[in-house]
Amino acid sequence: MDDQERSIAQRAVQMCDVNVDWRNLRALTGGASRVSFTADGISDASRAVVIQVARAQSEADMEIEADVLRNVHAAGVPVPALVGQFVIDDRQVLVSRRVAGDTVPRRIMRELDEESREALVRDVGSAAAVLHTRCVRPERLDEVDLLTTYIERLHASGWSRPVLEAAATMLVRTRPPTATPAVVHGDLRLGNWIVEQGRLAAIVDWELARWGDPIADLAWMTLTPWRFGGPGEVGGLASTATLFAAYRDGGGVVPDEEVFSWHRAVGLFVWAVMCIGQCEAHRTGARRSHELAVIGRRVTENEMELIDWMTA
């Protein structure tokens, strides 16, 4: 399985850059829907690439993701440069340059002092503002209503979760007016930020990008699981006030508290349904793993926060 993906990744590299050492591919931590590798430049370090290969039966559309990367880059958001996008052996493949830096949340949190934590969150706020106000919509990027989509997924999952049902009903009932739609990253949280010397070097992992309400991106990065035990509301690093100030300075429209709290509750709901999906990936045999299985038990912590929102 892994060998097949490695071979696909090697062929992709050979098709797009002969100055990359494709023989010495290293596997990176795999995501839910894709397997990633990296390779160094042969004589030029800046040639290093990351190759993402969609897993079999993945619904990933890397053609659209490539369009997103191009537009986002053109808008001035820090992202890895796109090198090539292919379909090899019926698998989608995306090749981009490797950006130097760290993505591991706990290490980033440990290594930054308070001043750099603030600076990093300001960087993220500015980058989000650029993304949401200046990025041109790729033609084929679908408009997605997050809440509707994930209510459907909950019901398709077959899981009976009274708290999630109550939250879904309350979220639909109290939905605020939608902000001006924009290109939304969809998973803009610590872990998808490449951090170099304490600053944001690039935003990665654009597979969940959509056209939709941009406030969702801001709310998502404040969810408890993305705080990794740190005290700050945003990625455990700094306050939402810091994030909002940078977002406003960058031209973004900051939501009022109630609207933000609604979007945050949608985020909790979405993450809970994603946990169900990951557990089901194990249960259905798509990807057997005790890690995925136990994620099913993380639904509970989101349910408690949703109850807090419903009773606030």
């Binding site: 009976s160 708290v163 999630l164 005790h290 509970t300």
Partner: protein, 122 residues
Amino acid sequence: MSHGDFGIPSIDELLEAVVEWLRSEVVTGADATIAYRGRVAAHVLDLVRREIADGEAITARRDALLRDLAVADETALARGIREGSIPIDAKLLSALRQLTDDRLRVDAPDQRRRGGDTDAAS
């Protein structure tokens, strides 16, 4: 009880022994991926131990809450909420809070302590 009485060693002692091995040898190993999966495996077994210890009492309390809401099981409760036949009122939310808080004791006790006022259900 979903398990019998086999004397010594108990299920909990057996699971604890595996957890100790995972934490002493696997989690500290050189291979970062195996170490990480070992840490997750120890977390899974600790969760299972908590469920074996408290699961029966928690499920009994859940059943009492369901009876109080006049539904047969969680599926009926979920369906009733979805279809609007069960109103989302203070009574329901209080029951859901108690159910969820109980489950957190097994699923994520750290989260429960961090969560603050989770005993407020009444």
